[in-house]
């Protein structure tokens, strides 16, 4: 049986032999695993040998979309990349937007799986159903920045609308925080998917699709889709449109949640101009959107033309990269932040991990673990120019310290030795997003149980603290907290599989809304119950992947600093996380999920979720 929305085609690309196989995926596979995250989790569970070295040719890279790209459903043009992460050694997951997904969908693609390693650097052109693996050397692509690669490929194929997802020098040089850049400002940023592409000698994916896309019920789709477009320009998304995500700088700082000085503090001391409003009124020159997005959260800020160092640089501003490359490095120099963002995007490094790793290095510098003679200049908190310099050295691995930092803070701390690991602010190896979790007893757990490492996007548990759903300084009602985290996490599992942008999560009144549009597109009668069960199963399967790779309860704890060092200012002054309380909420979460006290799904839970095939396979891997 066929569904609309999905192409139900799967392509396997063997980079070592150049063999390309086309097969199909069943209706059942589509409706159970939905797309994106679900497809990635299922393929990696089924096919990746436990204990595989993430940088070896045996790692598998999955590219997947859901049923919506190509339609005008708001924020429908999203794709995901999945592999064993070289940064965490666990489930790697990264999602990006822009033009890729809709173009690829018109070319007929739904699920593409890359195996092996190409003998020489290659890029792949998906020209509708015609797929060609082409050598980089013919167009001198290897070594180029992601932005330049995009330009070269568009010109080479005489198509200004060609969709290109490329790695930069960071990915080529196997930076473990290497990302994949498309449409200039959109990145599959986290967990080192650019590094995996680099390890496969895979420089870029180009998509050109000319085929028209049908939906199951065009009349219904028009009515529902138009309503969602209107809702997406309503109040639910206003903050993303007006001052953009940077609007959170002031509001989260007021709650003592804005990470700064490598998370020594959660209340920043340089807030005069460090707000979304100031940025919008003074430096933002244009707001642009991904394909099919009415919101346009991509706020572009420009360095003035008389700036001595970075004149004319245009960067895509987001609260996360402003925190990581700005406040977390102890400075409020907007021009340095803009320039550092452009470098990360072009060199192909995750801005969150890159900035937070520089912040780690600044603290190591302050503590004498990194010395001035190692760096050649003062790598001090508060120095925006030093951030820019170090980002460039990391992306190119062009200096001794830059080379060490290029693999993220955990790997760097291991190399630097001494007390360095104390200053590596990550969970499972993935650097922290913006939130100081000391006064966030729900999100402390939410960020730490995240299957890809410290992350705000696997469950929106920060909302439980910020909106006061629970007392954010205490640990009462552990099971209720656990249930609340689980509900959002399952929902995000669905959103990341469909895939739509989390910025539109507020335009869906309830799960039935999701089911209605899913049915209008695919023709399949999805129910809220099944949809949420799918989300839960997908999340559990990714968790099982991590367990099979050797993850334990200890990997669900945040860095020691949050338990032992209190901020000296702001609303969370004097507050640390309490280990006993934290563990109580963590175990409440495990219980809510139907996992045992060590965080392993019980056989009963696996059966309830249709994951019988996992039973008996949760041992044997090594990290």
């Amino acid at each position: 049986m066929t569904l609309e929305g999905y192409t139900q085609e799967r392509v396997n690309i063997h980079l070592d032999t150049g063999k390309i196989e086309k097969g199909s995926i069943t209706e059942e596979f589509c409706t159970n695993w939905i797309g994106g995250y679900g497809f990635g989790a299922k393929v990696l569970w089924d096919e990746l040998k436990p204990g595989t070295d993430p940088l070896s040719p045996d790692n598998i890279l999955v590219w997947a979309i859901g049923p919506y790209p190509g339609t005008f459903l708001p924020t429908s043009s999203k794709y995901g990349l999945f592999a064993k992460s070289p940064l965490t050694g666990l489930f790697g997951l990264s999602i990006s937007s822009g033009s890729i997904a809709q173009q690829a969908r018109r070319a007929g693609h739904n699920l593409i799986v890359f195996y092996g390693k190409a003998e020489e650097p290659v890029y792949i052109m998906f020209d509708d159903g015609d797929i060609q693996i082409l050598p980089c050397k013919e167009i001198d692509l290897w070594g180029k920045g992601a932005w330049t690669s995009d330009e070269i490929l568009k010109e080479h194929f005489h198509d200004s609308r060609l969709s290109v997802a490329a790695i930069g020098p960071a990915g080529e040089k196997l930076s473990k925080i290497g990302c994949v850049t498309n449409d200039r400002n959109r990145q599959a940023g986290r967990t080192g998917m650019g590094c995996v592409m680099g390890s496969k000698n895979l420089k870029a994916l180009c998509f050109r699709g000319t085929k028209s896309i049908k939906v199951a019920d065009p009349k219904k789709f028009y009515v529902l889709g138009k309503d969602f477009v209107k809702r997406a320009i309503g109040t639910a998304t206003a903050k993303y449109r007006d001052y953009g995500t940077p609007s959170g700088l002031a509001s989260y700082n007021d709650m003592g949640m804005l990470g700064n000085y490598n998370f020594r503090e959660g209340y920043f001391d340089k807030m005069d101009k460090f707000t979304g409003q100031w940025l919008d009124e003074n430096l933002v020159v244009k707001k642009v959107a991904c394909s099919q997005c009415p919101i346009a959260c991509d706020h572009l800020a420009k360095v003035p033309k008389d700036h001595p160092l970075w004149a004319g640089a245009v960067g895509s501003m987001d609260i996360e990269n402003i925190y990581s490359l700005g406040s977390n490095c102890g400075h409020d120099d907007w021009y340095a932040i803009i320039k550092a963002i452009t470098l990360c995007d072009d060199l192909g490094m995750d801005t969150i991990s890159a900035g937070t790793t520089v912040a780690f290095a600044m603290e190591c510098f302050e503590k004498g673990i990194i010395k001035k003679e190692d760096v050649g200049y003062d790598l001090s908190f508060g120095d925006g120019e030093a951030v820019v310099k170090m980002i460039e050295e990391m992306g190119n691995r062009s200096s001794k310290i830059g080379d060490i930092l290029s693999d993220g803070s955990r790997a760097a701390a291991k190399k630097l030795g001494g007390d360095a690991m104390k200053y590596s602010m990550q969970v499972k190896g993935l650097e922290f997003p913006m939130f100081d979790i000391r006064g966030m007893s729900c999100f402390a757990v939410g960020a730490s149980v995240s299957i890809r490492g410290a992350c705000h996007l696997r469950n929106g548990a920060y909302g439980l603290d910020a909106k006061g759903k629970f007392d954010r300084f205490t640990y009462d009602k552990p099971l209720e907290r656990g249930k609340a985290i689980k509900v959002v996490e399952d929902e995000y599992g669905v959103i990341d599989s469909l895939i739509i942008c989390k910025f539109t999560r507020g335009i869906y009144a309830d799960k039935q809304d999701h089911c209605d549009i899913y049915k209008a597109v695919t023709g399949y009668d999805m129910t809220p119950k099944k949809l949420m069960l799918d989300g839960e199963a997908i999340h559990n399967l990714a968790k099982c992947f991590n367990i099979r790779e050797g993850a334990t309860k200890a990997d669900d704890y945040p860095p020691e600093r949050f338990f032992t060092e209190a901020p000296t200012r702001g609303p969370a002054k004097g507050v640390t996380l309490k280990k006993a309380g934290y563990t109580k909420v963590l175990e409440g979460y495990y219980e809510a999920r139907g996992w045992d006290k060590e965080g392993v799904p019980t056989d009963e839970t696996l059966k309830r979720l249709g994951l019988d095939f996992v039973i008996g396979k949760l041992k044997g891997g090594k990290k």
């Binding site: 190509g70 339609t71 005008f72 033009s99 018109r106 609308r161 200039r184 400002n185 000319t210 085929k211 028209s212 896309i213 049908k214 939906v215 065009p218 028009y222 138009k226 477009v229 997406a232 320009i233 020159v285 244009k286 707001k287 642009v288 959107a289 991904c290 394909s291 099919q292 997005c293 009415p294 919101i295 346009a296 572009l300 245009v314």
Partner: protein, 165 residues
Amino acid sequence: MPRHEFIVVDPDKCIGCELCETVCSFVHDGEFNPLHSRIKRVRIEPLINIALSCQKCEDPDCVNACPQKALEKSEKDGSILVDEDKCSGCAFCIRACPFGAISMSTETGKVLICDLCESTEYEEPQCIEFCPREAISLRTVDQVGDEKRIDAVKRLLTELLAGSK
């Protein structure tokens, strides 16, 4: 001479979301395909975004260029009408249009030109209806000129007033 309204896009408001393209192809053909859209988004990185559609030129180069005489400017609303029986898909019109506002169907090989949604079941042009920034509107040349003049004078006076302080 009657004044006809045509599609005008404000590049300051346009966010480059491509919704206009997607909905255009959908309401005309029941399928999504920006290649079949009668309005085209243009992005020049990093800052320029706009969409272009038929400007309903008074003396249209496309009509003049067509060797099959398949194009005709409608007296009623100024739209360029395509006679699909005559259109041979030679694409002379595409080359002649100074705005690149004409495209060709990948399925029929006939050219596609904005008809302000006249051929669809919808009353209003759907690109305008769907644009999330109200960047697309219908204007006559007189209105365009009028708005430009007002803008220019406002700008000029602001500069004058600022200078006199």
